[in-house]
Symmetry: D3
């Protein structure tokens, strides 16, 4: 069960309204690496988790992320406070338009969301559960969590670079720092699984686990620990990259006699005759005089 | 520049059409962890990458993933071959309906996509670029790639568990194995960055980097390396979890006098009077007789 | 700030796994009228709200809805518990396939989400913030909340009709009941605004506020309190329904001379000549012999 | 059957092209509270409705909303008329760029839609049927309609505040007014259902219908008619908010012996060992020297 | 302005309820090639069109498509009539579940939409304006219309193949036939533009207009009128396919000195050192003992 | 199998960074008519195609389009090169904000995607497979391809109009030209099918194939080859447009006795009584004193 305490996890002090900055910060409210995505990622994993240690960890951090969502939303709300009243009461139109349209998507935040806080990213795209990549397998999910924390850290870093209100900067710094701490916890939980690589249960096929296919060739080809050294079998002949199973590289299926007959009929009915030379619509459209 | 060789990277042999299995395998064609998502993740990173080693690595693997997309699509196409002809030529309706609707979303694949191959997941949801989490920062992106390979490995493992055509199983096994190999390469590239943690450039705030907030409490609380040991400051008093900056936990903004006046007007006009006891629509709807 | 207590708001007891029922119940986890939508609707409103009474009310109910989300997710998790293990460890394929594909979209829940709990509706469509219709204006938002509670109540009622596990039915009954209670609170808050109709600040144009246009005519035309009685001006002549402002019903704009000249050029270049009788591609495609 | 009369329902006179205003007004063309959403909401309800009075009402208003869609689309078209020709014929690039990019998303309207009218909101997000919340139950649907009309009224009010072309303002005023009239009709239809609360057929559980859970606590806690008075049971002790059914607040399911055995195996295989203290990837990434 | 006549454009007679067929037919209600997509495609084009002939044509057909939408929706409604009542009143659960879940997505239609008619495709995916490809350029738009009519014709053909209720088949046959007639009209309008190819105004670069690049090579290479004959320059040497402009095929930009310095710093800070051989997280996860 | 050659298909030379232009060009990277949509359209068709000529053609062009995707992505990357470094290293905030927010959605490209290249359109909307309209029927698919090439040509033309860097203009010109060439090939393939109209296999109903319904009437009615001439039966009486099958234009279904009884019960329970005149919530909200 969740409970709410009216004090924020971090005090929010905003020097002055700034709807453009508000719009950018929405990225961490309703964007793909934002706090809702984080909270829902860990919450769905926590619900389905049966390992007691991870279950507790996931619900701890999920709860913290919802609390961060509240901090981010409160920053946005404060930054939009001026425009919110102006939209509700009505200012002189030209003034109002100037206030809401300054080179970001803050116009939509003002118009559709009334200067409130919207579950969209900074381009106005609604949050989608497609951002949540929980798969109910811990060695995959923990890696997804590590990556998600890393991404979220970067977005906060960019926002800090874009912000010049010292108190907001400070709050963003706190939020950024917590992503670092969370990543560390998820790393510990991953490596506390005795064998966590390869993920899941099935082993790979021995002959393809250490192969590196040099698929992109030309000036710029490089070697490094990711494709050189004794563990790697480096394959660059194009011939050895195709049909690596030793077959002919075609796709086939055994059709029933009835299906085969149908397939033949379709093929005949819809053949593009390679020996024809038809007049086309495009040629008519260029003024060709069909004879 | 991309070139195409008509031989598949892995020969596809399907024992018999099976639209239900086809529908499940779509997960790796147009699903969030499928081959298009993988290819586009690495391709977009590769284009923007300036480190020569990583650029080469990303384009190598992106190219291989597109080749895998072709293998997966060819499997699906072969499994749908029967239904495809049947939809085109028309069978007796009851028969046709039985053939396409067997407890998965294969009915949509047959009806809308004609038994071809669709860029949807196994529930018919169209592929979305929201699945691609490239952020143009290598220590975040490489972690995203590692996680994505882990997830894809798991989905192939599940498909293998669901499949009983040995040749298809074999092809799925190859594809699964390559995810393992790719993960290994991305790990090498990540750790070949001298300092890759914390991601990005800004350091965290020292006082919050090693703090663990025990936000979820009660029976089931656990300690483990993710929140115990000397590196962690474990905080469980609720009082110490709120307003961790030492402030009062409220949100505030300094409004101009004009904006403050407007805000006051809005508040007065739209107040929900706490001392009222109004009759409501719901009460009317329950037959209340307002007096 | 949010805190979590490991006890659920309602104890969840499931008699036996049932992935098909799990899939249906996802409607209230990640569907448009589900608990996440409710929680986010009230949470976003609560953040931007300045009226102290409503702010408190919105955060109370938002917090309860997140607690409901946890209850619903726990039901789904329990119902999927069998399939979850089976997917992870691997059963015989035919058996596994039978278990996950029984006429709902549970196949996707098993395959992509591993028998966990997914933020999708019962058709597998990912949750979208497009479901959240907060507009930061209380007389509109409270009506949206009332409507949302009414919809959620109906979906729970349908799920109860579809469920025959008495304990699950009981938990669904609790959740349904809370929607009724919430609707009542939102109704009170709406009617505690002294003038709450029309919503917002601007009055309507007097001449169109009480007009009813009978746009759909023929057998089945009906009168009722929504279009009859002294308050309504009932307009059925088609002539009086068009150009109700008394103008000519056309659309016009004053272009600058330069723009007008450009518009003329485009028109001339792209005219579909009404006096022509061209041969078309379709006619070629039917075997017409153009002369 | 629908018929079309070339005269608009309201004459559209635009003083001068203004692609920025056009972009904002798209909110009511292809946005969530726009005319297409309204039309489709009532149209889908009308089709499935069996009550003759409501069926007629819904089709009347659906038809009017499509006519409004045409008015809104015509306003947008006129406002874009200049840019449309300029994109088609080509101006000097710097001039053209200046014309289409002025702080809203009008650049996309010009580039992708050629200065026509797009079914997107003001941020360029395509219209989605997720906006349509018809549920085929009249006491829920009518409340959704009332709320939708209230939201639409507000968006028109905001657009009027943003507009300084008196004729466009006038047309927007007409459209806003009609939302008021529609809301009144839907209210009449709702209250003309003898018992319309609670929505649907099933009654609530008596013990939870009048309970108010004070989930959010701290400075700012408020009482009002929504949670005080004799009808309400106000619960604020945290203990009484958890496991309100009197159980232990846990989630459980009875697994078959086979499933229980599988679950045990998964748990063992994937345990995060709480007594370990593993070196992690993050530590490697910080330069830790594993020993 | 639109008007509505209560008689359908085509009488709908359904022999018996069939929610599975209803679900399939949704494809033409809320699917990508369905009647709403058609209506909105022509309506948006018609609004922005300035050529009087095409404007009239587009509004004629848009209006007819909305009337078709009503016919399709009425078929679906009738097919769902049984389930709709059963969901509202409540049947015995097992019976109800059997009735709504028969191998298509009809379970969602019953649960979320109450047996009404939903703006989704047959997989439950909500309709999206992304289906509407109007671009406000007639030689492109008319081709899009021709293609859309062709696709819609095919989907109706498949539905007819899947249907065995003769009256429904007949209505579907009418709808299919109208797509043929509409395609013919759009073809006439396209070819009545004197020069309609290439589309738009700018000519192509002469040296690449008639070139065919044989990008996919191997067994299966074919020649036909699309790449042979005197109009085509057939290029198959790989060398002549890359950097066809005669340059070196690289991508470059002139950076300011400041930006160049920054780029250098980023590169140094984030280099993946190709000469390193780091221990990775994956290796730890396999039990490697780092030394 | 795909292979990659590090040389681009067209050399990319950019005179100076320009994030606004980059944002606009994203339209052809991740927009509906962009290169990914093209590549995936032809690739999915090619996989399912059985006609050897078309299969080869589709894979040739799909491969070329992926190569174009790389060219477009490289242009965008070069245009963003300045901002990319600035975001990574951090500039002074005001400067940075000015650099990324100039009246397009480039702020999102900078913030979320770090100045890389994003699979979105110019409004930041993520690419969706809903853009891909492959239906696995060649006479429909080839028309879709023709239309898609025409649309893509137009978007490139508009971008060329918006661009003043001569080298970028040149590259865009090459890409535009290739769309023309591709359209020509697809036209040839379509007309090389002996009978390609009507699409598919089923013929239309003779009585409705040549009918034109004049649905939109009033000033502006036009005749042209699309509705006049001997092939057309022009129907304008409204009476002849409704119920064209000669029935009564109603919708009916034969319900079982049990279902009919249920339907009756629902109707009675939920009737909106036309003879009532209820007080409504809106009236309460206007201060009505219910008696």
């Amino acid at each position: 069960m969740f409970m709410h305490n009216k004090r924020l996890m971090y005090t929010v002090r905003v020097a002055a309204p700034d709807p453009k900055l508000a719009d950018l910060i929405l990225e961490q409210f309703g964007g793909p690496d934002g706090e809702l995505a984080a909270a829902m990622r860990y919450f769905t994993q926590g619900l389905a988790e049966i390992d007691p240690g991870r279950k507790d960890l996931l619900l701890d951090i999920a709860t913290e992320e919802i609390s961060h969502l509240e901090v981010v939303g409160s920053i946005v709300t404060m930054l939009n406070q001026g425009v919110k009243g102006q939209m509700a009461e009505g200012l002189e139109a030209a003034q109002l338009l100037a206030n809401i349209s300054g080179g970001t998507d803050s116009h939509t935040t003002a118009l559709l969301y009334g200067g409130g806080v919207a579950l969209t990213n900074s381009a106005g795209v609604p949050w989608s559960a497609a951002y949540v990549d929980s798969r109910t397998e811990p060695t995959a999910d923990l890696r997804s969590n590590i990556a998600a924390e890393a991404r979220a850290k970067i977005i906060y870093e960019r926002l800090i670079n874009l912000c010049d209100d010292p108190d907001v900067k400070d709050a963003l710094g706190f939020l950024m720092t917590r992503e670092i701490a969370h990543q560390k916890s998820f790393e510990k939980a991953l490596y506390a699984i005795e064998t966590n690589f390869p993920p899941g249960k099935l082993p790979g096929q021995a002959e393809f686990t250490n192969t590196y296919f040099n698929m992109s060739q030309g000036e710029g080809d490089m070697r490094g620990p990711w494709n050189q050294g004794e563990q790697w079998d480096f394959v660059e002949e194009r011939e050895r990259q195709a049909a690596v199973d030793g077959g002919d590289g075609s796709a086939s299926v055994k059709l029933s006699r009835a299906d085969a007959a149908i397939a033949k009929k379709v093929a005949a009915r819809t053949m593009s005759d390679p020996s024809s030379d038809p007049i086309t619509g495009a040629e008519l459209g260029q003024g060709a005089q069909p004879s």
